[in-house]
Structures are given as structure tokens and as C-alpha cells.
């Protein structure tokens, strides 16, 4: 019996020594930045989760630089967000990693990914990358405020949130063109409902629910106020009239039968399948779903951005990117930066578009028709208005849970818009306050 306490003491001693956890605390910047690349044969390790577009972009880059080989490792998203932080903290991390703000934010203060500002100046990245697409990847050294400070990743493909519509169902309700104001859209929803069609498919179990609220907030509200809030600018709040009105609209639409009663038990993929199967006239999601939807619906589907409250207001829509960061432990920072720079090239633009995303370089000439044409046209408009704003779950680590459960409360009419927004602001204050 006497060995038991001994083992416990030993184990405890081990625990205490083992927990001299990894160091850091300073943000890292590369030295010797140069456009001059090595002539030797080198291999860069790259960790990513999104494909398309990653694989095609990597092959195209390798074709341009025969001496640089990229050893790419794909991980499914849910595993990626759990493991990438640890692999970046390891002794031999990947040289390049797809950036995920939620999972990798703490790598910034730990100094494990490079502040790319020096490369941004060297390559003049402000030319060729839309300002809003870089802005969202900036952060202060403490990773508490975004949109300012150092640049920690560069986008490799862009996405935007909008409304897909079933042309036949919409035409059957006598609607001939996409709405130009939110009120017009409301009228369209009523007309569709009048024909006996459920207007929306909605994945309330996952992110679909709060994306509806998000799109409405963008449409009704002041974009600067919203952006500041997501970026964690001191003193910001989401308890605004617009956000409240957006939440109330969600409640109203449930009451009017525009949103199916089963939304809270519907996963995003199921909502998408319902829309493709013709069970609803509209679906709010991003262009990342475009290729699957187009395959299922062919010419019968179109896309528009949720219109603003009034005509003539500049367009605002949430968007994100597949972005890449560089490890501060890499031996080849210049070559890794060249890979990032490749993302704004015309060649990359073609790949990004062909794989269903929006090209980073909006100036690149793109030929498209049908659904892709709709998306490209709408995207160009919102980029031109500098109206791409980040998704709300970016604001703080547990915001996604608050958003999902909060909108579920609205959908089941168990919580009020005020309670929903209070809960969001509480999470924001916990992290930024």
C-alpha cells in the first residue's frame, strides 16, 4: 500500500516540471526580407484544410518555381482547428499554414507566426489585394483588436455571403428581378409564401441561422459600427437599433412562416439539400457552396446580395477568405512570402474563380455566366464599395456558440432580440472589455 502515495508524489513532481510550457510573448517579424528567391532545391511544408482552392494554387505555384516543392498536408476542418495551434508551436512547424482566426489567434502574441508588414511594403500588396480582405487579417500584438496593426496572413481566395434563389419558384410568384431594397425583398417573400412555397431553407442547427441575422444586420445597419465591433475596437457594442431590428425580423419571419419550423434541427448541409431539391425559394449562404448548388440546379438558380434598406446605399456583405500565414520558425521566409504574393496573380485569379471562389485580384479579367456570373457581378459591386465586412463569430472565441444558440432562441420564440444581443455583448466584453 505504501507505493500509492509515493507514486502520487512522483507524478505530481513530474506534472510541475512538465508544465514549464512553451515560451514566447513577443510578436515576430522576419529579417532579410527580399524578393530574391533561392536557386537551390527546397521544400516548404504547408498545412491547410480548404480544398478547393489550395491544391490547384499550390500546383500552379510549383509550376512557376520548379526548384520550390510544396509538401502540403490537408486536415479536415474540425480537426484542423484543434491541431493547427499545437503543430505551429512544435519545433518543426509547417512553413506555411492556412489561417483560421479562431484557432490561431493566440499564435500572434506567442510570436509563432510572422507579422508580414515588411513583405507587404516590399511587394506593395495594397495593389492587387482588396483593402478589406487584408484589413481583416490585421491584428494588434495582443490579438485583442483586429483591423489595425500587423498583417498576419494573406488571402488566397475570397468568399461572400448572399442569397441564392430558385428561378422557377420565384417566377411562379410573379417576381421578375432580384430585389433592390429590403422592403422589396419582404414583398417577394410574401408573394412566394402566397404561392404555397416556404421562402427559406435555414440551417439553424449550425451557422445558417446567425448568417441570416448577420445579412440582415449588414443590410439595416451602419457598417463602420458593425466592423468596429467585430474588430474589438474599445467601447463598441452590438446592441444597436439595426442589430435589434434584424433580430426582430428573424422572429417576424418565423411567425409569418417564411422560415420552416424545423430550422433548429436542420444542419447547413441539409438546408442546402432542401433548397437544391426545390423545397424552398431562397437560401442564404456563401459562394463556397456555389459549385455544389450549381451542379444540382443548373440554370435554375441565381444569386444576389441581400439588398440594403434603401436604394442607393452602398452594398455591404459579410465575407471571408482562405488565407495563409508564415511560421516564424521557417528557414525560407522569402520563398514562403513569394507563395503568398502569388495569390494576387492573374494565374491564381483564374484558379480561384474556377474552383468556386472569388479571385483575390478583382481586376483580373474573368469570364463567367449563369450562377458564377451572378456571384462575380455582385462581388465586384461590394468590393468596389469596400463593403466586405467580417463574419460576427470572428469577434470573440465563444461568439459562435452565443450566435448559434441565440438565434435558436429567436427561432423558437423563446428569447427576445434584446436578450440575444445582451448575450452577444456579454461575450464581447468578457474578451475585449
Amino acid at each position: 500500500m505504501r507505493t500509492k502515495p509515493l507514486a502520487a508524489v512522483l507524478a505530481l513532481a513530474l506534472a510541475l516540471t512538465a508544465c514549464a510550457e512553451s515560451g514566447g510573448g513577443e510578436s515576430a517579424a522576419p529579417s532579410d526580407v527580399s524578393k530574391e528567391l533561392t536557386k537551390e532545391n527546397i521544400t516548404l511544408k504547408l498545412a491547410y484544410t480548404d480544398d478547393p482552392p489550395s491544391k490547384a494554387l499550390i500546383s500552379a505555384f510549383e509550376a512557376e518555381h520548379p526548384n520550390i516543392k510544396i509538401d502540403a498536408q490537408q486536415t479536415p476542418f474540425s480537426d484542423y482547428v484543434k491541431s493547427i495551434k499545437l503543430s505551429m508551436a512544435a519545433d518543426t512547424p509547417p512553413d506555411i499554414a492556412e489561417y483560421n482566426p479562431g484557432a490561431m489567434r493566440s499564435l500572434v502574441p506567442a510570436g509563432l507566426i510572422y507579422d508580414l508588414t515588411a513583405y507587404e511594403k516590399l511587394y506593395s500588396w495594397n495593389d492587387g489585394f482588396p483593402a478589406a480582405s487584408l484589413e481583416v487579417l490585421r491584428s494588434n500584438k495582443e490579438a485583442k483588436e483586429y483591423g489595425t496593426g500587423g498583417l498576419y496572413a494573406v488571402p488566397g481566395a475570397l468568399s461572400v455571403l448572399g442569397v441564392y434563389y430558385n428561378k422557377q419558384l420565384v417566377q411562379a410568384a410573379g417576381i421578375t428581378k432580384p430585389p433592390s431594397t429590403l422592403d422589396e425583398f419582404r414583398a417577394n417573400l410574401a408573394a412566394v409564401k402566397g404561392k404555397g412555397t416556404t421562402p427559406f431553407s435555414l440551417g439553424g442547427l449550425e451557422v445558417g441561422g446567425f448568417q441570416l441575422w448577420n445579412a440582415l444586420t449588414n443590410s439595416l445597419g451602419d457598417e463602420t459600427q458593425y466592423r468596429d465591433w467585430v474588430y474589438g475596437k474599445p467601447g463598441s457594442t452590438i446592441q444597436t437599433d439595426a442589430a435589434k431590428q434584424a433580430a426582430q425580423t428573424v422572429v417576424d419571419w418565423v411567425g409569418a412562416g417564411y422560415i420552416p419550423a424545423s430550422a433548429n434541427a436542420t444542419a447547413d448541409a441539409d438546408a442546402q439539400a432542401n433548397f437544391v431539391g426545390g423545397k424552398s425559394a431562397y437560401l442564404i449562404t456563401g459562394n463556397w457552396a456555389a459549385s455544389v448548388i450549381e451542379k444540382g440546379m443548373g440554370d435554375n438558380v441565381g444569386f444576389f446580395l441581400l439588398p440594403q434598406a434603401k436604394t442607393g446605399e452602398s452594398t455591404v456583405a459579410s465575407g471571408a477568405s482562405v488565407a495563409f500565414s508564415i511560421s516564424s520558425k521557417t528557414k525560407h521566409p522569402n520563398e514562403a512570402a513569394a507563395f503568398l504574393d502569388f495569390m494576387r496573380s492573374a494565374k491564381a485569379a483564374t484558379i480561384q474563380f474556377d474552383t468556386g471562389f472569388m479571385p483575390v485580384n478583382s481586376e483580373a479579367p474573368i469570364q463567367a455566366s449563369g450562377l458564377r456570373g451572378d456571384i462575380a457581378g455582385e462581388f465586384k459591386k461590394v468590393v468596389g464599395d469596400n463593403g466586405i465586412v467580417p463574419f460576427p463569430d470572428f469577434a470573440s472565441p465563444n461568439m459562435i456558440d452565443r450566435l448559434t444558440s441565440g438565434v435558436q432562441g429567436l427561432l423558437s420564440k423563446q428569447s427576445t432580440p434584446d436578450q440575444f444581443l445582451t448575450s452577444l455583448q456579454e461575450s464581447w466584453t468578457q474578451y475585449h472589455g
Binding site: 507524478a11 495551434k85 419550423a261 424545423s262 428569447s415
Partner: protein, 313 residues
Amino acid sequence: MADTDTAVLPGRTPVRPGGTSPVRGRRRRSRRLIALAYIAPAALVYIGFAIWPAIHTVYLSFLSWDGILPATWAGLDNYRAIFTDSMLGPSLWHAIVLILFFAVIPCALGLFMTALLQGTTRGMTTFRVIFFLPQVLPLVAVGITWRWLYNDEGLVNQGLRAVGLDGVTRAWLGDYNLALIALGFIGTWAMSGLCMVLFLAGAQKIDTSLYEAVAIDGGGPVRRFFAVTLPALRGEITIASVITTIAALASFDLVFVTTNGGPANQTTVPGLLVYRLAFNESNIGGAAALAVVLTLIVIVFVTAIRRLTREKP
């Protein structure tokens, strides 16, 4: 290191006066070394993969650590945060409700089936396989299957429509008031077979003469069940309720794949909150603290069950 086993124990030959001879001592020591060598592999695995992580978790619960930056000592802050968090109370209550569906109903069902099937030999293996099957399936697969069964046009609602109950059909897992109950029944389905198989195995060792005695006394099947079967299965009932209660309190996978805590946090359980703290919020200390609290709660419940079902001397 005085040997405990050289002390005089009742029923053992007392140690020879004059103490242990050097030869015997050496032999005993070497025998003990051999014993240790036999235990070592299992003990090392157990210490390395069960005891050590548990101790480490307790240690982590006193830290403020995001998994990357240097950890700082947090003292009891993580525990304080847990008990002031408005999410813990409801999630614990949900776990307790789940005990009804994961433990109480399955044990009752298992006993009922045992009473029915006891003594039958025809098709017994088939019954056992069918009822035990849910235990073999991973809970994640079970959860996904049930999500389909419960959805708007799933089998459950189809069945209700077929018998004219159109009015009650709904997406069960998305219903604010019924989601937890719907979730609970998945647990009932998964756990009942385990209880039944345990009880059937236990019932086989019951001496048939006891049943004959009841029959002679004029007792029917109900009397037979309460007078003989139920007391004889005391041990099995304890085991089954401990296993299923732990499954209810520490549930995570089933909830994660079916509702993920929704709608509007109506089905959150402590296990899910541990996961969210660790992986969504990078709050390793908080997650460890909640895990420690959850462990203590499980221990309290298990102790209570064992006391309740203990045979009175």
C-alpha cells in the same frame, strides 16, 4: 521498509520468534521483485494513461493557460468562474434529466425483459444480439441515424402521420421543450440492451429451486420476480446503474452530433461545455476545472447508487 506481511495476522502462523531469517528475507524480497515485475507493465500503462492525466488535469485546473502562451497560476479563479457561469446550472440539470433516460428507464426495461425472457431458450441468442446491437455501434453513428429518424420527414414523423397524428409531428430535436426528451430516448435505446444482457446473464445463476419454492407457496410470476429475481440481481443492477449513470452525466458524443447543445442551450451538458472551453475558447484551465468538478459529481452519484443498492448486513 518494514514488511506489513511479517506482522502477525489472525489466522496465520505467527512469525518465528527471533525475527525473519536472512535467507527467508532475501527470498521474500526477490519474490516481491518478481511480483512487481509482473505488475509493472499494466501498472505503467495505467499510471501513464489514467492516473497521470487525471493528476495533470487537476494541476491544469489551477492555471490560466490558452495552450500556447506561458501558463500563469490562477489559483481558484477557474473554479470561481465555473460556479458563477450561468451555463453550468442548466447543463447539470440536463445531465440529471438524462439519468432518467440513460439509467432509470433502461434498467426498468431491462428487468422487465429479463422477467419475460428468463428461462426461454428458443431464440435467446437472437434476442441478445438484437438488443445488444446498439452497444456495439459507436454513439456518433447512433446520433447521426437518430437525427435522421427525428427530422421533419424522418421515420418518427412518418409513423405519426400514418396513424393520423399529423398535429404532433415536428422536428423533435429542434423543439425548444422536447429536444432534451427526444435526446434522452436515444440514450434509452442505446442503453436498454446493455442492461438486459447484464440482467439475463445474472438471472442464469439463480437457483431454480427458489422459483419452485415460490410456486409451492402459491406465488405467481409477479411474486417470483419480486421475491427471487430482483434480490438476486442486486449486483448486476448496481453495475448497470453505475455504468449508465456515468454515461448520462459524462455524455458528450451523442449531444455533440445531434443537437450540439441546441436549440438555445436546451440540451447543453457539462461534457459539451468542457469541450467548448478547451477547443472553442482555448481556455484549458477552465476546461480542466470543469472536468474536475464533473468527475466529483460523478463520484458523488456513483457512491450514492452503491450505498442505495448495498445489501443490508
